[in-house]
């Protein structure tokens, strides 16, 4: 470990940072005798927040940023003239261990550019995670990004040491993907996803028979799509997400607002700023799919292929369905309570458990954290009520709920957070 490592660390972090996934959720593993580290499950721990407001949970780094591929949207594509570096296995292992021991991180998120060929690269990645687990007895979190085109054998080996693996789709439409990343196609993405899924399913079968059979990526897999680099609609994106969530091991789909890193490439749009509002709306929609029991067609469909940028997707759905309101707070099912704009999972649970003791009024709702400013148009709780969405009409309610136009709006200041599993 020397001063040179500093420079390599800088280069390889800069190259890795566009992958947005960072969570350390999903595995519970206590420390073993003589080892270091554990993972908590649940939401994982963010140890810091960088100046862009993103959570830093894992040491997110590339083994090397040399790459033989030429994906148009990627800073590391071979035709870019950028500083390149490669870390040695020892350096990477030491960085991980020393950062971990100082409580800087929950573990490692390792990826790599493709050198020589996919298997050659994948082998190096596997070597690192194996060393960490077996030689250094590291029990912290490991997320390994699989190399597109890597063989099933290597993925199977990697899965024994990693908590989570990911293969990024990046572009939600195969033709666009081929156009932008000539070396890739859907096969090169979905094949390894399938290998990972098979590995998980086989290992859980094994573990039914032998309790000590090794676990295989216990935190499942994740993927990422770039938003705004192609003309695909939110409907295309969210339909793909919902198909992926239907698979047994897919835990998270991440959305990454396209950042124009290669402005010279004419195949890509010229964006002054990454589409962060749209990205935020996609996360909210994703949230509705996973925790609010929404079907994807309720959120986006042929009549509404794109999410409303001005209001959140749940409010947007409610305004399109005034016939479902008002919802009676004291009687409606949990599922329907969840659909009220301004009511979150936490307050929905509080409502359902408290109303057994007596009638709830708007006073109680406010105390429980319901955003009454929104909810008041959509509920009834047996009081003298303000006029609701049906009396006022949805258009009027929409106007009333739009944020007051500020002098200078900076859409980067959105503070929606997307913690992992609640």
């Amino acid at each position: 470990m020397t001063e040179q490592t500093l420079e390599k660390l800088r280069i390889l972090t800069e190259s890795a940072k566009y992958d947005v996934s960072c969570s350390s959720s999903g595995t519970v593993r206590s420390n073993k005798q003589g080892g270091v580290g554990n993972t908590l499950g649940g939401i994982g721990i963010c140890h810091s927040f960088s100046d862009d407001g993103r959570c830093i949970s894992l040491l997110k780094i590339m083994l090397t940023n040399y790459c033989i591929y030429d994906c148009a949207y990627c800073i590391n594509r071979r035709s870019n003239d950028i500083p390149r570096a490669t870390l040695s296995v020892t350096e990477l292992v030491e960085l991980t261990m020393e950062f971990y021991r100082r409580n800087y991180i929950e573990g490692l998120f390792l990826s790599s550019g493709v050198v020589r060929n996919p298997d050659y690269t994948m082998e190096r990645l596997v070597r690192i995670v194996k060393d960490l687990r077996t030689i250094h007895r590291f029990n912290g979190y490991i997320h390994l990004k699989s190399i597109p085109g890597a063989s099933r054998e290597l993925i199977n080996e990697a899965g024994r040491y990693a908590d989570r693996m990911s293969v990024n789709i990046e572009i939600p439409n195969e033709d666009s993907l081929k156009r932008l990343a000539p070396e890739k196609d859907f096969q090169s993405v979905f094949q390894p996803m399938k290998f990972i899924q098979q590995g998980v399913l086989e290992s859980s079968e094994e573990r039914k028979k032998f309790r000590y059979a090794p676990r295989f990526v216990p935190a499942g897999q994740s993927t990422q799509m770039i938003v705004g680099a192609t003309a695909d609609s939110d409907k295309d994106i969210l339909h793909l997400s919902s198909t992926l969530y239907a698979r047994p091991t897919m835990r998270r789909v991440y959305y990454s607002g396209y950042i124009a890193v290669n402005t010279y490439d004419k195949r890509l749009p010229v964006l002054k700023q990454p589409p962060l509002v749209r990205e935020n709306r996609l996360y909210q929609a994703d949230w509705l799919l996973r925790f609010y029991q929404f079907k994807v067609d309720e959120i986006v469909n042929d009549a509404h292929p794109d999410l409303d940028l001005e209001i959140d997707p749940k409010l947007s759905w409610a305004l399109r369905h005034p016939e479902c309101f008002p919802v009676d707070i004291n009687k409606a099912d949990y599922e329907m309570i969840l659909r009220i704009p301004g009511v979150g999972v936490k307050s929905a649970r509080l409502i359902v458990s408290s109303r057994r003791f007596g009638r709830l009024t708007s006073y109680h709702l406010k105390k429980m954290g319901v955003v009454m400013k929104k909810a008041k148009y959509f509920i009834t709780c047996g009081e003298l009520e303000a006029r609701g969405v049906n009396e006022l009409r949805p258009e009027r309610v929409r106007e009333l709920l739009l944020p007051a136009p500020k002098k200078k709006t900076d859409d980067r200041q959105l503070s929606f957070q997307f913690p992992d599993e609640p």
Partner: protein
């Protein structure tokens, strides 16, 4: 107005409940000993904390409340917030008086207040897990100074013991002046009368740092800078998720 004075301990509150039932007068205000009495005070009673009485009240609570609700009571108390005293007292009283547990009645202001305070304390514990930063000293001990909003060091320490089982460490609460030392076998609660400079600044002097400690701090700061995407700068979200009061002891925020 009836005022009870007590020693600001959890056993003290339980004893106050016991006293109230045996005196048949219930306090409107609970105050710590030596605190300013309100202007119109008809009656004051000084609670003498008594373990046996406290235990009897606790036993009564155990019959009615779930384990989760019980730990909600004790953990909320670690907030050290004086405004929790009366809601906590009333929560206990209502539980004693009610035929069934009221713990899920969040329309009750006292239940909601205690539960929300419990949540805040647990959140502060989580922040301890997030923001404690160790520096390695020449003798191999990993040192961290912490200043949590609530008294959560004891609540979070077992996480560190499990995670860093093979490394000696010391985590010290600067404001409350105590901490835990772990020697790779046992945890010991410690409190130092005389303080070396790093107990005040949170920073080890260079001669006390293990070899390479400085380099690793430098590496971490380099990483912290490099991981940020300039096009997405969002200091407001950063401060919301990592309030500036923690920055003092964060390695990545030092020069």
């Amino acid at each position: 107005m009836i005022v009870y004075l007590y020693d600001r301990t959890f056993d003290g509150i339980l004893t106050a409940v016991f006293d109230a039932y045996s005196r048949k007068t219930f306090p409107d205000v609970l105050l710590g000993e030596g605190e300013q009495l309100p202007l119109f005070c008809e009656e004051t009673h000084t609670v003498i904390t008594d373990e046996a009485k406290a235990r009897r009240v606790w036993k009564a609570l155990r019959k009615k409340l779930s384990a989760a609700a019980l730990s909600c009571l004790t953990i909320s108390y670690l907030s050290e917030l004086p405004e929790l005293d009366m809601p906590l007292f009333r929560y206990i009283r209502k539980t004693v008086d009610s035929p069934r547990s009221i713990e899920t009645n969040f329309a009750d202001e006292d239940v909601l207040m205690v539960t929300n305070t419990y949540r805040k304390v647990m959140h502060e514990r989580h922040r301890m897990l997030q923001f404690v930063r160790f520096q390695k000293a020449t003798d191999g001990t990993y040192f961290a100074l912490h200043e949590p909003l609530y008294n959560v060091i004891a609540l979070g320490i077992s996480h560190f013991k499990d995670r860093f089982a093979d490394q000696p460490f010391l985590i010290y609460d600067k404001r409350r002046d105590y901490g835990y030392y772990y020697d790779k076998e046992t945890l010991t609660r410690v409190s130092f009368a005389e303080k070396l400079p790093h107990f005040l600044t949170g920073k080890l002097n260079e001669e006390l740092m293990a070899k390479d400690e400085k380099l690793f701090q430098e590496l971490w700061r380099t990483y912290f800078k490099a991981i940020c995407i300039k096009e997405r700068m969002n200091p407001r979200k950063q401060k919301k998720d990592m309030p500036t009061r923690y920055w003092k002891y964060l390695t990545e925020k030092q020069k």
